[in-house]
Symmetry: C3
Subunit: 112 residues, 3 copies
């Protein structure tokens, strides 16, 4: 089974919960989780900035092959670009399309 975690909120507690959930899915001992993806957009982008509080957590998820995708529409609106984000985060044109695409591929959706 595969899961996409949607980080869309500017609420820091929700962002931390989302990252913790991604880690828990990855560490699941039942072995039933085959892939975890994170899609970040809107206020959620603060959770993956290179100099942010969660940078180490995000790096560790990337090291464990979690794909973290940031919404380019959001970055543009916030006058940011990929270099402001934790290294290894990729961008997608629109986060909501990516979330749709992943669900269409069979990923379960989880919004912290």
């Amino acid at each position: 089974m595969r899961t996409v975690v949607h980080l869309v909120s500017g609420d820091e507690g929700e962002q931390e919960t989302g990252l913790a959930i991604a880690r828990n899915l990855l560490d699941d001992e039942s072995g039933s989780i085959d892939d975890v993806a994170i899609v970040v957009q809107a206020g959620g982008v603060q959770s993956i900035v290179a100099d942010g509080e969660n940078a180490e957590t995000v790096r560790a998820l990337l090291d464990d092959d979690v794909a973290v995708s940031a919404c380019s529409n959001t970055l543009e609106m916030m006058d940011m670009d990929e270099s402001d984000l934790v290294e290894g985060v990729e961008t997608v044109p629109e986060g909501a399309v990516e979330v749709t695409r992943l669900q269409d591929e069979g990923y379960a959706y989880l919004r912290p």
Copy 2:
């Protein structure tokens, strides 16, 4: 691919994000999004009132064939009816049933 955006929160920021996401899905240049629906219930109803801040945004989405459905259970609890909402919004008996029905039909789910 099709997507349902669930406006269930009374948080104005989340409401605006949800409407903006619906617009971005509609404007997606990859052409992969075939339909966008919005289901509104609980605190989310404030985002679609006729005299609200988002009325123009909602009208523009309706003009572009986004179906916007409001939960009749919620309207009743709030002493409101369809005439309080942006013209063109339709009602469904229960928003959560509509969200379930759309996912059952293959819509991806997105909660801003």
Copy 3:
């Protein structure tokens, strides 16, 4: 159709909305809803404690065969165990895995 309601937020309003939505799905007169499940984790756990404000509401849902599952990872982090929760709530090792499993089985997802 079947629906899983994800109680993941510490926001009391969202918790109450989630429980009300579960009830509305159950009472749906169209007869199209065959099962409702609730998965509780992170801040959402406060909504199902035995001495909490929603205890009666949760008991009534359990009486009507709604499965309510609490995340053991969360309980451990909060120094709680099953005995702190409304009687009849079951535990699962990780809430996010349970949410994934239910969607994989065909449940629609709803996050209040």
